[in-house]
Symmetry: C2
DNA sequence: TTGAAAGCGCTAACAC
DNA sequence: GTGTTAGCGCTTTCAA
């Protein structure tokens, strides 16, 4: 820096002193690099952000100095100047205890990787599901992040509407389900998994195995994701000419619900296949079978959804629909990149296909 | 920022103008608030960081203005000035597929909550287990975070040595196991769970239930955590005068290992209790029992470690040692707070007690 | 108790 | 192609 930083040093002579500054404690700055390379600060900045502008040997010289000093730009200074933080906000809600879907792990990790490749980091923030807005608002106002990844779009997701009209950048894991009555449909980029197709796959799999009386154990009707999955079962059954009468039950997603519903279904309809909306519900079903001395996969086939660690480790192994979470994360990162570059997102919505992992339970 | 920024306007009277600045686009700044409250920027800053300095009514006035405008300080500017980011770095490694411990969810969430209460956020960054240092180094040099939470201290954790000599602030989830031979032992703050005590609890539980031939299914001997847990089984057995001869096996932590080891143990020693180093291994054991037509909890008792979602949902339910992850996270956050405030951490190491969750498998 | 000045490290806009 | 200037929004002196 030295003489370069003339700001305020109107008097002559005094400014000189600065030159000999013994590189104050702390990491090197642009000025340190500039001094070492014998160029101005701006040239160093260009070497980093716009290398094409420099002459070849200047560039080499600067890069040398950067490497020698182990220089990394100060992020705060860059943020203050450019008004971009290179941070992506990810609201983090409490994991539900006792449920089988700890799938966020896979998703989050890929998201971290993918965003890092585009030069971003992931910032977690606690978000109270009741008052989601306050968490976002705080992030936005303190300009803490450039964009958000919204994952919890299923409960009427007020945060999407909020972020939209707030003008915030975000991408969603989950379709825009609702609010069509409100007027215009949301147009933000989203990526989702085709749950109906996954459940249809599972149902076809059972039908192919010779099952004809196949029941659906779903969530309550107010949950669009659950209804979507149910539609997959329904269409598969109808497509193959099988009856669905009194074969569909709904309830909260607990194991206990799965257990009771299974007992009731067996008493009433003697199904030979149970297609479940989640691994948790499927585990409840397996427990009911166990209580009756039945064996899943031999006496009654069971399928779940999520390919959770439970499905993978239980015996007999639980056939389950696996979401391509890594692909979801990468697709979201790609959309973020476009969004952040103010480039148009040509295909805002993307529906990915899950796969069926067949195990002993079917 | 127009005329508002008086820098350089040495002339008097002009400063007044500041008031009429039409609030440029973007979120409100200190200056916006100051204008509205009719005070200087500095006073607003004091109101936030040092409210005791202000007269009561001035403070009220400023707070009014802050609330009205919904002002939040710009984090980048504050960071640049104070050299603290209010960010905690958390290296995020890929979850292992097929294992039963997705316990990080609980831990991470509490960490996010606890650090938020102290005014910090959690920044995830991908860390290649092979070359952990580069990830940390990058964070440090760009002054992206104030401190780290290191979670993966078990494999000889080179990152601890590295961070220590690098002078970085960090706390660890996990005891400083190794490197005593290197010279001085690490003195960084850490929190850990007493695995030996947990396994001893499980073993005593089985002994109390009348079991006498109780086997240990552990990890390979190079894993300190596994050896610690094994010591719990060993001491419980010896303390009650029971033999451990040929009842201890070790291997990788996979389900398949648990399955095979169980078959071999039953053939060789006919144990009536199996204490396992993890839920994953326990699931392998349960599978082996299943294959032999035996029922866990009736014919042979099984215990696991982690109280994972698998333990909670499988039938029969798996008795398991539950780590107080929420407590761990809070204790770590507390230590971070001390560390970041440059206050002494009076009790750097803390060993928390796990609890045994008894289910049908025992 | 309040205000003015300086500057953290960086980059955008312009001069040379 | 390279250097100069100005300022992002904040806090830390220091003066009034």
């Amino acid at each position: 820096m030295a003489r370069g930083d003339a700001r305020g040093t109107t008097g002559a002579g005094r400014g000189r002193r600065r030159t000999e500054r013994p590189v104050p404690e702390g990491p090197p700055t642009l000025a340190t690099v500039a001094a070492r390379a014998g160029v101005s600060r701006q040239t160093v900045s260009n070497a980093i952000n716009n290398p094409a502008l420099l002459a070849e040997d200047t560039l080499a010289k600067v890069e040398r100095a950067i490497a020698d000093l182990g220089y990394s730009p100060n992020l705060a200074a860059r943020t203050l100047r450019t008004r971009t933080t290179r941070l992506i906000g990810l609201p983090f809600e409490p994991a539900q205890e006792g449920t089988a879907n700890a799938l966020m792990d896979r998703f989050v990790h890929t998201l971290v990787e993918a965003t890092r490749e585009m030069g971003y980091h992931v910032l977690l923030f606690a978000s109270d599901p009741e008052e989601a807005e306050v968490g976002y608002e705080r992030m936005l106002r303190s300009t803490a992040v450039d964009a958000f990844v919204v994952t919890d779009t299923y409960r009427g997701h007020p945060q999407v509407d909020y972020l939209q009209q707030r003008g915030a950048l975000f991408v969603a894991f989950g379709r825009p389900w609702s609010h069509d009555d409100d007027g215009e449909p949301p147009t933000h980029p989203w990526v989702d998994v085709d749950g109906a197709a996954g459940v249809a796959q599972a149902t076809h799999h059972l039908i192919d195995r010779g099952h004809e009386v196949i029941a659906w154990l779903g969530w309550t009707a107010d949950q669009p994701i659950g209804e979507d999955r149910r539609a997959g079962w329904m269409s598969a059954m109808r497509g193959r000419g099988l009856s669905t009468t009194r074969l569909s039950v709904r309830g909260d997603g607990t194991m206990e619900y799965g257990r009771r519903a299974t007992h009731a279904l067996i008493d009433a309809r003697r199904p030979t296949g149970l297609v479940c909306v989640s691994d948790t519900v499927a585990m409840g079903a397996m427990r009911a079978l166990h209580e009756r001395g039945l064996v899943a996969g031999r006496d009654i086939a069971v399928t779940g959804f999520d390919d959770s660690q439970v499905a993978q480790t239980v015996s007999p192994g639980l056939t389950s629909v696996r979401q391509p979470l890594e692909e979801v994360a990468r697709a979201l990162a790609h959309r973020l990149e476009l969004l952040l570059g103010h480039r148009p997102v040509e295909e805002p919505g993307l529906l990915l296909q899950p796969t069926l992992v067949v195990r002993e339970s079917s």
